[in-house]
């Protein structure tokens, strides 16, 4: 409960101070995010270099057509959303489990070393991971097939089995981000008040009880924030990851093509800036619609957990 002080313009002074604290962030956002946003009009323009962004003629929704030509629009949208949902749950779940386990480990050296090691995949760029993937799965000399041959099993051509690749991609995505995401959860766990833990110790609670009733609820705000942030990007695929892992294997495209890879291939030989902008706008509008709905739902359940 707030006790109002009888200082004149107290509210005003407080708000002025708060706004001034947020000022640098506001200015940066305005100058470097909002002003350039005017470029979104490119999506509706037939861009000509000699007329610039604002001088070029409007062409309605023409730039969007290539996304939906021959039924691809639904396929790539569905793929993008599915992969993001799959990756979202697996990588966040893995990160939470890792965070909980690591904070429970008592041996300091084991904890520090394993924390650092788990973080390593983040540093390996997808280009290099791509070559490793090829090294594992290729038919002639891949590690997988070499192993299969060694135990007298027929080698398998993974590259013509589209159904396997969502799981391969999911695995590599989790592998790359688990360590990075776990840091957030570890920080959240260490930020939980120690009092309930001491009380639980005294009352003789088991470890799993401790985790269920103190740790998990304690990091719930962080978990919700992370989930919401990921949902807000649900129409955006990680281009580098898909491009490096799948490469140009057309046989896998129906199962692994996301909006970003499709756009890249379509516009490789045609630098049509309007069409690129159209794809981005399509993704943005859908993300916007989805997050508005999800955020509103979360807000109804508990206003503190919503993003805005």
């Amino acid at each position: 409960m707030e006790r109002q002080l009888k200082v004149p313009n107290y509210r005003g002074k407080k708000y002025a101070a708060l706004l001034s604290m947020a000022a640098p962030a506001i200015i940066i956002t305005l100058a470097f995010a909002y002003f350039p946003m005017s470029g979104l009009v490119l999506a509706f323009k037939n861009y000509r270099f000699d007329r610039g962004v604002f001088g070029s003629a409007w062409n309605g929704f023409e730039n969007f057509r290539y996304l939906f030509q021959s039924g691809t629009g639904w396929l790539i949208t569905r793929n993008t959303v599915m992969y993001n949902l799959l990756n979202l749950f697996t990588s966040q779940a893995l990160a939470i489990i890792i965070a909980i386990f690591i904070t429970e480990i008592t041996s300091m050296t084991f904890r520090k070393v394993s924390q650092s090691v788990i973080f390593l995949p983040y540093f390996i760029s997808w280009v290099i991971v791509g070559t490793f993937v090829y090294n594992i799965f290729n038919y002639e000399t891949g590690a997988l097939n070499t192993m299969l041959r060694a135990i007298n099993v027929q080698p398998v051509n993974v590259y013509d089995k589209p159904g396997v690749w969502p799981w391969i991609i999911c695995f590599f995505n989790a592998w790359k981000w688990a360590g990075y995401n776990s840091v957030i959860y570890i920080a959240a766990i260490t930020g939980i008040d120690a009092e309930p833990y001491e009380a639980a110790e005294i009352d003789g609670a088991s470890i799993s009880q401790r985790i269920r009733y103190i740790t998990l609820p304690g990091i719930l705000p962080t978990v919700i924030t992370m989930l919401l942030l990921q949902v807000g990007r649900i129409l955006r695929g990680d281009f580098e990851m898909f491009y490096q892992i799948v490469g140009n294997n057309g046989q896998l495209f129906n199962a692994t093509d996301v909006i970003d890879t499709y756009v890249f291939r379509s516009l490789l030989q045609n630098s049509n800036l309007g069409m690129t902008a159209a794809a981005s706008l399509y993704q943005s509008v859908l993300c916007f619609a989805i997050i508005m709905v999800v955020n509103a739902v979360v807000k109804r359940i508990d206003a503190d957990y919503a993003l805005f």
Binding site: L18, S125, I189, S206, I207, R233, A277
Partner: protein, 298 residues
């Protein structure tokens, strides 16, 4: 009492076994590709071409590193640029982000949701490469300036919102009592909030630093002078050169050239990543448990 103690011991032992085993497994899976990366950088090109990658170099060769350090000044320069941008960017960025996070975490600030949405909206809609490029180059005159490498990473809305959840974990009662004692917002922020945000600051600081260290995109767009190239951009040009040239395979004009070898790419990756890996263990000491005890009573 004795029975519950015994139960606790059994289930704890089981738990710890699972715990250690799981973490060990994850650590191994994380470590092995990294080991392959290092091993690949020390393997001869011929062995990689015909034998693939392995955990231990099949045919030892340090020629990739020799090539990189043949012109040590380029690498030293790149290190300098990367370190400078990372330090300056992280310090400024962390400061700006944390202050803004504090503002939007204040439940008694009427406009916090409006402000949050104002910030968040920019992650949904993006003006695109061309528009951003034109603003940076033409209107803000940042062509070939190191500022163009610092500014984009200063304020990341995702980190802002994560930081907000950390700040929200600080009990509101502390802020109230500071208000009652007559402290202004700035004092509250610096003297009460910041000291309690250790793990949050460490996390977001780490992420901002990593973001700067790993960024090549802004260097690609805005930097032309070779002595202003950051490390990751050098790595990127090396890795993508073969990719880019192979895509124009059918052109007649491009002469056949020697491409960067596989081991060179690995060696460059090791050189570009090396130091930042050491930062994380350094930062770990800030992940200390239970810092708010005793500050709130009743």
């Amino acid at each position: 009492m004795a029975a519950s103690v015994k139960n606790r011991d059994n289930s704890s032992v089981l738990f710890y076994v699972i715990c250690y085993a799981f973490i060990l497994a994850v650590a191994l899976i994380s470590f092995i590709p990294f080991l392959m990366l290092i091993s690949g950088s020390f393997t001869s090109e011929h062995a990689i071409r015909f034998g693939g990658y392995s955990l231990i170099p099949k045919e030892w060769s340090a020629s990739a590193y020799e090539l990189i350090f043949k012109t040590p000044m380029t690498v030293v320069h790149a290190y300098g640029v990367s370190i400078l941008i990372t330090v300056v960017g992280t310090a400024l960025g962390l400061f700006i982000t944390t202050m803004a996070a504090y503002v939007i975490s204040r439940k008694d600030f009427k406009y916090r949701n409006v402000l949050s949405f104002f910030f968040y909206f920019t992650t949904l809609f993006n003006g695109g490469m061309l528009s951003t490029y034109i603003f940076y180059i033409r209107y803000y005159h940042l062509k070939d300036s190191l500022w163009a490498l610092v500014i984009p990473g200063l304020f990341n809305v995702f980190y802002l919102l994560i930081m907000r959840s950390f700040v929200s974990a600080v009990p509101a009662a502390l802020i109230e009592s500071a208000e009652i004692d007559g402290a202004g917002e700035y004092r509250t922020f610096f003297q009460i909030i910041l000291p309690l945000l250790q793990s949050g600051l460490a996390t977001i600081g780490l992420f901002i630093a990593l973001g700067y260290w790993n960024d090549w995109y802004n260097a690609m767009l805005y930097i032309n002078s070779t002595d202003k190239y950051p490390l990751q951009y050098m790595l990127y040009t090396l890795l993508q050169k073969t990719e880019a040239m192979s895509r124009i395979a059918s052109s007649a004009g491009i002469p056949v050239m020697d491409m960067p070898s596989h081991s060179l790419k690995m060696a460059m990756a090791v050189v570009a990543t090396g130091p930042i890996i050491l930062v994380y263990p350094f930062v770990q000491k800030y992940f200390v448990k239970g810092i708010t005890i005793g500050s709130v009573k009743g």
